[in-house]
């Protein structure tokens, strides 16, 4: 009996394995309806363990409780179950040490299972989903308790109903539950997650690398962007299934926090449900806040955006492309790529953009400037500073890219400070003057790839006709496009953020600063500098050198919260409950900062737009200029 129950248990494991494998078949079949992507699956699969243990865990670890839970339950269950599968070999079955090991693993898993249950009990946190998650701990518990009991019986040599029938029954029930969870429930992430990790669309991200640039679209393709789920790459479809609904994206999404009709988790789940042909009601997490109702139906081949579809259009335009969700996602899902793909179809195939955005895009097409302002007016704010203009065929060391912000009175002040610093230190620099067009960032984030490529082509041509060593810009959005997105279109330059250049000048001793006595200063990281480009240190070094007292907001560095100014959100007439910059300035106030240091024209405009009383907003260049004691 005792011997037999061991063998049955091993058989059960194999049976479970088979059932799981079978459950994956429809999933794989569905994914194959997505677009083919050149992915080296063999190398990808080989890399999975490392990707899982390093990169995924790095993200999971940001919630220590979840990491513990996951390590115990996944580790225990997988190890116990795998070991039990080896029980097919009778030699093992006779070994007490073997059973002791099985018992230890399953007992560990029981502890983990208890933690799984505790997550949603007695009260489910809002960021977590319910539904099948609610009985998942019982299925796991049945399986693991069964396994433990069985092992205990084997060790102590006891048999009987308690140590053979009961454990086997528990394992049978638990196993069936697990099969249901994997085939039709959140546990599918075990399989889809592995697939996605192996076939990730940005493998460069693994091992601490960065890959944030949007990829060019073939403008001759019949379908531009994604209108229906099957327009996505097959691996992207897998990534939707890989979502474990942990809600970290939701917790970090600035639009969600401000009640702006976007919940990245609900978005990914909406896409996954649409792809599976399930109804929206199957989703049990928080919805996109205040989003108007939609039909909530979908299929692989029906439009996913729209009131008849799965996701309301407002959701798309609320995204600031800040990448906070992507940064947080333990499954490394690419929310921003997804949103931009969806926007591309809306913009390029349907012309469905918000009136404000349509106006901006029209200006970009017709006058190469999003406000329809004369290109010659861009440098107006620098008129008193005698900045040379780099003409065609000319040469300089540093080409200063002014960006869209230069038109604003406020940011012109920052640029003046920067120009003064460059003049002080004798840096040989110039601007493009009237030849500087919009870099195309806004068009691209709004999904208008056609206008982006048109502008990028002209800009690359303009830059190609001038000689310079590197480009410096105070606009992280322009920096991101010039540095990361133009290479794919044939333009590669060394591009520096102005804080990096100033930091370089200070460390080279060309600029001497004296920390001024100021009230506490907090640095607000621009998304496109910190998350997109990983630059968080140079600005902080500069601040430390020019202000007596710095503080950090709770969310800073790569975890910083967006100001709300990116991704075309400000021109998209987004319905607002709260304004994102208001939330950010509240966070600044909580940190005790009286001055918020910024390094981006978008952040400056958004944060200064917050009604007073609020902290003063100053660009790092301005703070540095005030602190200069010698050059």
């Amino acid at each position: 009996m005792r011997q037999r129950s061991g063998a049955i248990a091993a058989g059960l494991v194999w049976g479970l394995g088979a059932a799981l494998a079978l459950s994956a078949v429809p999933m794989v079949r569905r994914w194959r309806k997505g677009q083919a992507k050149p992915v080296d699956m063999v190398r990808g699969l080989a890399a999975v363990p490392k990707r899982y243990l390093v990169d995924v865990h790095h993200a999971v670890e940001r919630r220590p409780g979840a990491a513990r839970m996951h390590a115990l339950v996944a580790g225990g269950t997988l190890a116990g179950t795998t070991l039990l599968a080896a029980g097919i070999v009778s030699a093992f079955r006779n070994n007490r040490f073997y059973w002791a090991s099985v018992g230890v693993f399953f007992t560990t898993a029981i502890a983990g299972t208890w933690l799984v249950r505790k997550r949603r009990s007695p009260q489910k946190p809002s960021y977590l989903s319910g539904g099948k998650f609610l009985w998942l701990p019982y299925a796991l518990g049945a399986w693991n308790v069964g396994g433990s009991l069985l092992a205990l019986g084997q060790i102590v040599g006891a048999g009987g109903v308690l140590f053979s029938a009961v454990p086997l029954f528990l394992m049978l029930v638990g196993g069936a539950g697990i099969v249901v969870q994997v085939a039709r429930g959140p546990m599918r992430h075990a399989f889809s997650g592995v697939t996605w990790l192996a076939a990730h669309s940005r493998p460069e991200r693994f091992g601490g690398g960065r890959s944030t640039e949007l990829r060019p679209l073939d403008l001759a393709a019949p379908m531009l962007g994604a209108m229906v789920p099957s327009d996505f790459g097959w691996n992207i479809l897998a990534s939707f299934d890989a979502c474990i609904e942990c809600g970290r994206c939701e917790q970090h999404c600035p639009a969600f926090a401000a009640g702006q009709r976007l919940n990245p988790k609900a978005l990914v789940q909406g896409l996954a449900l649409a792809a599976r042909g399930e109804e929206a009601s199957a989703y049990t997490g928080s919805p996109a806040p205040h989003a108007p109702p939609v039909a909530g139906k979908g299929s692989l081949s029906s439009p996913v955006i729209g009131v008849d579809g799965m996701i309301h259009p407002d959701t798309l335009w609320a995204c600031t492309t800040c990448r906070a969700c992507v940064e947080q996602c333990p499954m490394m899902i690419e929310h921003v790529d997804t949103i931009v793909d969806l926007r591309r179809a809306q913009t390029l195939m349907l012309g469905e953009v918000r009136p404000g955005a349509a106006e901006a895009l029209r200006h970009l097409r017709e006058s190469a400037e999003s406000g329809g302002r004369p290109l010659s007016a861009r440098a107006d704010g620098l008129a008193g500073e005698n900045v040379p203009v780099l003409e065609e065929g000319g040469e300089t060391d540093v080409l200063l890219w002014l960006g869209e912000g230069a038109y604003e009175l406020r940011y012109a002040r920052t640029l003046r400070a920067l120009v003064k610093l460059l003049n002080m230190t004798g840096v040989n620099f110039a601007i493009l003057g009237e030849a500087e067009l919009d870099c195309g960032d806004l068009a691209r984030r709004l999904g208008d790839e056609a206008t982006f490529q048109m502008l990028a082509g002209e800009v690359i041509d303009t830059l190609g006709r001038r000689r310079f060593k590197r480009i410096v810009t105070a606009d992280p959005h322009a920096l991101n496009v010039l540095r990361n997105e133009y290479p794919a279109l044939g333009g590669t330059w060394e591009v520096l953020h102005h804080t990096a250049l100033l930091d370089e000048l200070v460390s080279a001793g060309r600029l001497k600063l004296d920390a001024r006595t100021l009230p506490p200063v907090a640095y607000h990281d621009p998304c496109y500098l910190a998350r997109y480009n990983g630059e968080t240190d140079a600005p902080r070094r500069l601040l430390a050198a020019c202000c007596s007292q710095t503080v950090e907001m709770e969310r800073h560095g790569r975890q910083a919260m967006c100001c709300g100014g990116g991704g075309g959100n400000p021109v998209s007439d987004v319905d607002v409950v709260e304004r994102i910059p208001d939330l950010r300035m509240q966070q600044a106030a909580q940190s005790g900062a009286a001055i918020v240091a910024v390094a981006c024209p978008g952040c400056t405009a958004m944060l200064e737009g917050v009604p007073e009383p609020r902290a003063e907003v100053k660009d790092i260049a301005e703070l540095v200029l005030d602190a200069v004691v010698a050059v």
């Binding site: 403008l219 001759a220 531009l224 913009t347 390029l348 195939m349 349907l350 012309g351 469905e352 953009v353 349509a358 895009l361 029209r362 097409r365 017709e366 006058s367 190469a368 400037e369 329809g372 302002r373 004369p374 290109l375 208008d448 056609a450």
Partner: protein, 255 residues
């Protein structure tokens, strides 16, 4: 209904880069609002890349009359007369004026004259109630948001107001799908040339009068009862015509 939209190769007033003319974009929108089934763009001149943008606003087909730039009215009229033999257009729509050339806004009028068609001008939208076939009821846009109903016999030329809100959205996929077809216009002699000297525009201020604070005296009521005061105000406003008569006021409320 078959409609032709007259297209010109315009420029953006700020940057000077080639750009579609706002009025012509609105003309496409108005044609759609009028329920035009067939919608063709017509350009007197050889095709230029910027014309494809009109495709983005909803034109599937654009015909360019190469050589027509010498005398656009003649070229367009010839084309339209020829087209009438096959399937006559009911409607020719145009913007109020071009953007980048002489910009006089005279072309649609001349074309209507040449075709012997009536012309309805400054139109913002169709009226809700349409008359029997063969006529069209349109809303002419007037300053301060006012409108004037215009009834016109088909076939006709219609110019679209720059205040019209019927701006179609721009769809890149449609732009790349547009068929721009070159058709040789019959050789026409060079039309009249504008005389004078062409030079960069110098912006001149509009007239302003001398600032003044005082004024001439008028009717004066000292310490009237509120009733007297109100009655005087109402009577005065009525005499100026700014306050509708009581019966008009109630009837205007109903419309």
């Amino acid at each position: 209904m078959k409609a032709i939209v007259l297209l010109s190769a315009g420029i953006d007033p700020v940057s000077g880069r080639p750009a579609p003319v706002g009025g012509e974009v609105r003309a496409i929108g108005l044609a759609r609002a009028l329920g035009a089934k067939t919608l063709i763009g017509l350009h007197a001149g050889a095709s230029v890349p910027a014309l494809a943008d009109y495709g983005g606003y909803g034109l599937k087909e654009i015909i360019c009359l190469s050589g027509g730039e010498h005398d656009p009215v003649a070229a367009l009229a010839q084309f339209l007369i020829r087209a009438s033999n096959v399937s006559a257009p009911d409607l020719v729509l145009a913007g109020t004026r071009g953007c980048g050339g002489a910009d006089t806004g005279l072309l649609p009028y001349r074309l209507a004259e040449k075709l012997g068609w009536p012309i309805a001008t400054g139109i913002a939208a169709p009226l809700e109630e349409q008359p029997a076939a063969g006529r069209l009821a349109l809303a002419q846009a007037r300053a301060r948001g006012a409108v004037r109903p215009v009834h016109v016999t088909l076939p006709c030329v219609v110019t679209v107001s720059d205040m019209a809100e019927c701006v179609p959205s721009f769809v890149f996929a449609d732009k790349r799908a547009v068929q721009v077809r070159d058709e040789r216009a019959e050789r026409t002699p060079q039309g009249e040339m504008e005389e004078g000297l062409l030079r960069p525009y110098r912006r001149r201020p509009k007239l302003i009068s001398a600032a003044r604070t005082g004024g001439t005296g008028g009717q004066l009521l000292v310490d009237p009862t509120p009733e007297e005061a109100a009655a005087a105000i109402i009577a005065h406003l009525r005499s100026l015509g700014v306050l509708a008569a009581a019966d008009e006021a109630s009837s205007s409320k109903m419309t």
